[in-house]
């Protein structure tokens, strides 16, 4: 995505021009953490160490990180089947996530949810969700709650281009506009719904669906963390100050397969070219490399080394923690279904 289109209303929201140098370093570190965690998940999945399917966010890190930079623990996010990035960007604990994916009692969901359902409600992470589009309505509900609370909490809802074809998008655009909910819609347009190119299943521009409701809307280069940060700054500020919902469409690209067993299940079936994937891993596109290049140019080489080391240590520690964890307790399946309190 070379161009960044921001609606006039977004510009008017009074943004700072971008993250400060210190903030950019933080954004970089967070993106790198997501990247390195997922590279490790990719390898461990290939090695047969992880029980379920893993859907990786590699290549899309700038979206979650750029948006969540504006959110605190008391703000909410809803996420997707591709939720590790959202979880970590919103401040979820690496160890607890890793242990969850390893199906351990120490997991953030005690091994009951797995990769597709990582959630940390104490951090406002209402959960990754295996149902495409489901997070939209959940986010609207959380945003309604915070609106009633009246204390400026904001909800961000991450969803894909594929999810944008679920009717619940239009329903929540309508309702959040009417009720002026403090909600930021973040569409991660990574050009695929599973193995189907978006253009085959998505008519028009997704952002136009929000514009039809008169909603402030931005289309940004989702691989440019600064651009995402900027658009989110406006949207979050608007929501926080009672200005209602906004919509951000972040154009990005999914570098890994839809999920890690993809090559196996497709057994030779192809839906994209290797050259296309390769292009998105270059320094001018890959969000982590791009940010790194910017930071390097500003002379931060030493800091970057330290960050890289810190992140790798964190990942190693998390994997060790997960591997050493206790297997999940099967009895939880029955005991956790209900809070047994009524009557």
């Amino acid at each position: 995505m070379a161009t960044t289109v921001i609606d006039r209303r977004t510009e008017q929201a009074g943004l700072r021009s971008g993250p400060s140098p210190a903030e950019l370093l933080e954004l970089y570190e967070r993106m790198l953490l997501v990247r390195r965690v997922e590279e490790r998940l990719r390898d461990d999945s290939a090695a047969g160490k992880l029980p379920g399917a893993v859907h990786l966010y590699i290549g899309e890190e700038a979206v979650a990180v750029g948006v969540c930079a504006h959110l605190g623990d008391r703000d909410y996010v809803t996420s997707t089947h591709r939720g590790h990035g959202h979880f970590l960007a919103k401040g979820g604990d690496v160890r607890a996530m890793m242990a969850e994916i390893w199906a351990k009692e120490e997991g953030i969901c005690r091994g009951m949810g797995g990769s597709m359902h990582v959630a940390d409600v104490s951090k406002g992470i209402l959960g990754a969700n295996g149902i495409v589009g489901a997070g939209l309505a959940i986010a609207a509900g959380a945003a309604f709650g915070t609106k009633l609370d009246g204390d400026g909490k904001v909800t961000a809802c991450f969803f894909g281009d594929g999810a944008s074809n679920q009717g619940v998008l239009m329903e929540t655009l309508n309702l959040s506009t009417l009720w002026e909910l403090p909600l930021v819609f973040v569409c991660e347009n990574n050009t695929f719904s599973e193995f189907t190119p978006s253009r085959e299943v998505t008519a028009g521009r997704i952002a136009d669906r929000a514009r039809a409701f008169g909603m402030p809307t931005a289309e940004v280069d989702g691989n440019d963390v600064t651009a995402v940060w900027q658009a989110a700054a406006g949207a979050v500020a608007r929501a926080r100050s009672g200005g209602g919902p906004s919509f951000i469409e972040a154009h990005t690209y999914r570098i890994q397969g839809h999920f890690e067993a993809e090559a196996f299940v497709l057994s030779g079936g192809r839906y994209r070219e290797d050259a296309e994937i390769a292009a998105w891993t270059q320094e001018d596109k890959d969000p982590v490399l791009r940010c790194r290049a910017t930071l390097l140019a500003s002379g931060a080489a030493d800091v970057l080394h330290a960050i890289e080391a810190r992140v790798l240590a964190q990942v190693d520690d998390a994997v060790r923690f997960a591997e050493a964890g206790t297997p999940a307790d099967p009895a939880l399946a029955e005991s956790l279904m209900f809070v047994r309190d009524e009557g």
Partner: protein, 330 residues
């Protein structure tokens, strides 16, 4: 002290009391402000737009929103008019409400109460007459409430709203006008405790929701023939009071389950299966299910009457069991 209340008033009372008690109770739904069924009447004037609110028609979002709003600390009440509209909002019911607590390792509580009418008998035709609770019962994580009296309606609804799990509160369509005694003051009915509506020693009739009335009428008719029928109203289907039912069957040796929901995988099936497993040795004869057959509700009133269980079918079933069919009906 008790008070005479119509069922719909009892529901309305419960909502007033719980909204008054807890500012975190919030109600929404299509046309709840003017309240066409009457259960929400007066709430909007009293509690205002933040506490009770009309929504657009978008059931998928209404059920999904309940999950988010509950996660944000609210006790959510959603009015869905007719239980057929559960299907329209089914994703969040089946894939979120029923599962999220487990999926998050117990992190979330979902104090959600969904209210809807159910059942036939008003010529509303197939798309407004389902008794859609068996579908809910199979989903695992949902309480299912089927009050048959104003007192239970009030007490169960209050328990549901205060509760910390998703609960479906089902109102028999067209029965809101029925009158009954409701205890004064704070009246809560616990989940999972059946009510024995009538005692009897010859056969147990378990009747659900709006079926309690024809079951009691059948019991009256059978009493005249010397057959003592124990009528059990489970009041909540999830959780279900197995102990009370099993005790009754131990005593009578016979069970008829009366349910307006369709037969196949219906509530009556579940209850029959429990007894066939856990009280088999007490049974002196087959378990009879009296249900709506596996059909969509027809429009014509005579056809509706043909498929919805009524007093005669219950009487006949009991008589077929207690072995006095010929003598009694001769």
């Amino acid at each position: 002290m008790v008070e005479r209340r119509r069922l719909i008033q009892a529901v309305n009372d419960a909502l007033f009391e719980e909204m008054e008690r807890d500012p975190k109770v919030v109600v929404y739904g299509e046309d709840v402000e003017l309240s066409i069924t009457g259960d929400m009447r007066g709430l909007h004037e009293h509690f205002g737009h933040d506490r009770i609110r009309n929504t657009p028609i978008c059931e998928a979002t209404l059920t999904g929103m309940a999950v988010g709003l509950a996660s944000a600390g609210y006790h959510v009440v959603v009015h869905m008019m007719f239980s057929n509209f559960f299907y329209t909002g089914m994703d969040a019911i089946g894939n979120q409400m029923a599962k999220l607590r487990l999926m998050t390792g117990g992190q979330v509580e979902l104090p959600i109460t969904i209210i809807a009418g159910y059942g036939g008998g008003s010529a509303n035709a197939a798309q407004h007459s389902d008794s859609a609770y068996p579908v809910l019962m199979n989903l695992g994580g949902l309480n299912v409430l089927t009050p048959s009296t104003p007192a239970d309606a009030k007490g169960l609804l209050k328990t549901a709203i205060r509760g910390r799990n998703p609960s479906f509160f089902l109102e028999a369509s067209g029965r809101g006008g029925e009158v009954g005694d409701v205890p004064d003051g704070e009246h809560l009915v616990p989940f999972g405790r059946a009510a024995v509506r009538r005692e009897g020693g010859d056969a147990t009739v378990l009747a659900i929701g709006r079926m309690v009335k024809p079951a009691l009428a059948a019991a009256d008719a059978l009493a005249e023939q010397g057959v003592g029928v124990e009528v059990i109203d489970p009041r909540t289907l999830v959780p279900f009071d197995e102990a009370s039912l099993l005790a009754s069957v131990e005593k009578t040796g016979h069970l008829v389950v009366v349910d307006e929901a369709r037969e196949c995988c219906g509530a009556a099936s579940q209850i029959a299966a429990i007894v066939a497993e856990k009280a088999f040795h007490a049974l002196a004869g087959p378990i009879r299910r009296i249900t709506t057959p596996n059909v969509a509700m027809p429009y014509a009133p005579n056809a509706e009457r043909h498929v919805i269980p009524g007093e005669e079918r219950i009487v006949a079933a009991v008589l077929s069991l207690v072995g006095r069919a010929h003598r009694a009906t001769a």
